[in-house]
Symmetry: C2
Subunit: 257 residues, 2 copies
């Protein structure tokens, strides 16, 4: 991690369901994303698909020697940080699935998405936090370990702990959650912390920094310190609002389930 | 073209039809190919697929400045060369489809593939001609234009002509064809030259070299000079055994047809 994306290649498997205009629209979206992230579309392939649409994108990037960050560099007493907020994409998915099940069989149905734009966007249009990488560089902070949160915070934390041979403590009241996520979890009668820990598809950055960077990282916008790294023997725990500790389990998203 | 492959990334879409042993076997094949070609498998992704199996591989390579060859560099009087032989993969496909249609509905059926191993292998296990790139380098030949033949010789020649703003003449009696390909075309009562020109999936290299490299390139094993580059106004033609000229048309493989 901590590199810069430079090029992408795009391979498509397209079925008969799609017409040329669909593909043109798709490509214009890809071009827009390329412009925003400053990457070039340099190649790829197009094949026929029996059903649906298959999209495979490879991103090629550059990292400076000594600045590339792995999962294996977290050290005891390091601070654990996340960018943005968590659980919103998962609640967006819940909302989409609810409206879809209501829609089934109905003719003139307008799904009710008002005031829920944020969680929908988090599910449908995730953004890569290239800005955070730039911010960290500007602030002179070199994370000791880093990965993106695609399978859920709990699962990713366990990855870093395992690769770095450490443990971790994170604090429930420090986990950043947007109010729309909270409102939606309330409506669905779902546990908000579970959504934030295991929801997945957030595409935020999880990283650790040396304790000495505390003031610098705390002052940065859009980054929250949620806990700290411990000895491996101490395991991976969430400290609840009541002070109770719950062991973190990797209930992360499994696309094959 | 004319670079060296270094890394691949592999993305899979897997449906329920496949078990973990299938994937292990697949990966061991990928590993074998990586070993043979001297590339590293450095990343990728695995997703669920509703049907079948989707495989997307991106290859990343290196080229030396000044030695990278494009489609646009062919010059008048250059020699047109191809590696290996053409049309075999297409005849292999015909054979597979014939045996499949005979197999339909039959219980104890053993397809008749004896003596046809070569054309089957050309269809089922194409090889990238990394060896030719190395041979050319050793012989001190820098091609002026190069591409691989995946959609058929005719189609690729027209690509090079268009990009280089030239024309071409190739000679029917110079096109390299394996005897198994010829036997199969005879059996199927198919035009052998059509199979070689438009069959596709050969994955051989098509390239042009300066006329001054004639002796060097002629002496190389597994490379055949099949024609020469002309002015653009002279078009793209195949010169038949009888001396008659037929314009080349891009009837190349189209996966969406």
């Amino acid at each position: 991690m901590n590199g810069r994306p430079k090029q992408i290649t795009l391979s498509l498997g397209v079925s008969k369901r799609f017409c040329i205009e669909d593909l043109e629209e798709f490509y214009s979206g890809v071009q827009l994303a390329c412009d925003i992230y400053g990457v070039d579309l340099v190649g790829g392939d197009t094949s026929a698909s029996r059903t649906g649409l298959t999209i495979s994108i490879t991103c090629i990037g550059e990292g400076e020697k000594g600045k590339v960050v792995y999962r294996s560099g977290a050290k005891e007493t390091d601070l654990i940080c996340v960018s943005g907020d968590l659980g919103a994409a998962y609640m967006g998915l819940q909302l989409l699935e609810r409206e879809k099940s209501i829609f089934k069989g109905e003719k003139d149905f307008t799904p009710d998405f008002s005031g829920k734009e944020y969680i929908l966007e988090r599910q449908l249009k995730p953004e890569a936090r290239k800005d955070i990488v730039e911010q960290l560089d500007k602030a002179g902070i070199l994370p000791t370990a880093m990965m993106d949160i695609s399978d859920g915070l709990a699962s990713e934390l366990i990855h870093i702990s395992k690769e770095s041979n450490v443990g971790c403590r994170i604090y429930e009241d420090r986990i950043p959650i947007d109010y729309q996520t909270a409102v939606m979890a309330e409506q669905f009668n779902m546990n908000l912390v579970t959504a934030a820990l295991n929801g997945g598809e957030d595409y935020e950055l999880l990283f650790t920094v040396p304790l000495t960077d505390h003031d610098k990282v705390s002052a940065m916008k859009g980054i929250k310190v949620i806990g700290h790294v411990t000895k491996a023997e101490l395991g991976n725990y969430l400290v609840g609002r009541d002070g109770g500790e719950v062991e973190l389990k990797a209930q992360g998203w499994n696309s094959l389930r």
